[in-house]
Symmetry: C2
Subunit: 244 residues, 2 copies
Amino acid sequence: MNNVSELIKSHRSIRKYLDKEIEEDILMDILEAGRWAPSSSHLQAYHVIRIKDPEKRKVIAAYAGDQKYIESCKEFVIFCGDLSRIKHVCEEEDVKFDGAYLELFLIASIDASLVAQNVLTAAESHGLGGVYIGGIRNEIDKVDKLLQLPDFVVPLFGMCLGYPDQDPIKKPRLPMSIVYSEETYNEIDQDALDKYNDIVKSYYITRTKGKLNHNWSEYTSERLDGESRPHMLSYLKSKGFAIK
Amino acid sequence: MNNVSELIKSHRSIRKYLDKEIEEDILMDILEAGRWAPSSSHLQAYHVIRIKDPEKRKVIAAYAGDQKYIESCKEFVIFCGDLSRIKHVCEEEDVKFDGAYLELFLIASIDASLVAQNVLTAAESHGLGGVYIGGIRNEIDKVDKLLQLPDFVVPLFGMCLGYPDQDPIKKPRLPMSIVYSEETYNEIDQDALDKYNDIVKSYYITRTKGKLNHNWSEYTSERLDGESRPHMLSYLKSKGFAIK
């Protein structure tokens, strides 16, 4: 349709990288793209931390469920929700800061996500590939300590970046008839879901040469079986977000 | 640097639109760009609802604090966090679904945000402009009912789109020395913050011809003065997210 939407629609997560550094000016251009993301009430409630130290990367990779590409990628950044500096300016202006509302945590999460997606798109426009690392939330308190985060700053996800050394096929997405509707929410289109499940099954068989053959419903329900990072609430509370 | 990062870095919120429809194939291309966003564990925990009905737009504009451009924009879409279809597939697969974890609400919020930012970037690449509408959360329960959202589907923010009929100057962002650090979090750079405050003050004076003259610290602390959508937690609980 145009180059930008084609670029966006050609996204694949990239986890294998060429042994080629990302030029510093390109990295800065990419991070700058993040800085221009829209932000709720211009609060800019995020912070980005670049991790160069190989030892630190190794530790984070282990925390994130042994995702080795956190070590092997050329750049690794962590996106944090950050209300600490907003607290700072409130104190400067003698305004009582009550960061305990769930709403503020939500604002920070959305802000950081918009920044991150700008970073990824800009990276892909430079021929780079990347992958989000939500796995840092597996051991979020340990990642927090490693990054020396103050109250009201929480690591949300990481991102690995590098020049791709793989060319994976695109992972099929849920069809528009399921993720999109007009005027009101629509009940799930079971036929479309069944078809999508077949497509996902074929995708996994092709990608893994038959080793995996689950469909989306099977994969998703397996993923949802059991507690989902049950420590998140108590962690957030420990950082000042009372989530009231 | 390149066209895509320049496009991203040239973002301004656009709230005035030409009387020119968005072609249906362009709109679909833009929404498709959203569909290819990365998603945590491929859960795709979002749903997009396009609102065409002028009466409905009028009601939503009022809910969102009388933001008239929700009525005047050419397209208005609402991005929802959606765990309802994940609940559906869990039930299909006989897996107990416990969507009450804060982590799952976070996943849905991040997923929807990445989709939305792809949509905005693709829209801007087509010469369109837009603005996020977090204000729908002012009356989130009413928006919810209007859209007939089931349990585990929550409206997070809207987006107005149209061909720009304004050319605002870029709103200055916090400098890299404040939003970015290496290896660990950095304490706020007060000099950089003071300079940024001066820049923001000049920006508002220029943009409003002297009617507004606040700096970022003043604006931000005013915005944070008082309760921040205190209904959000009870609303989310009413939708099944126990936020445990």
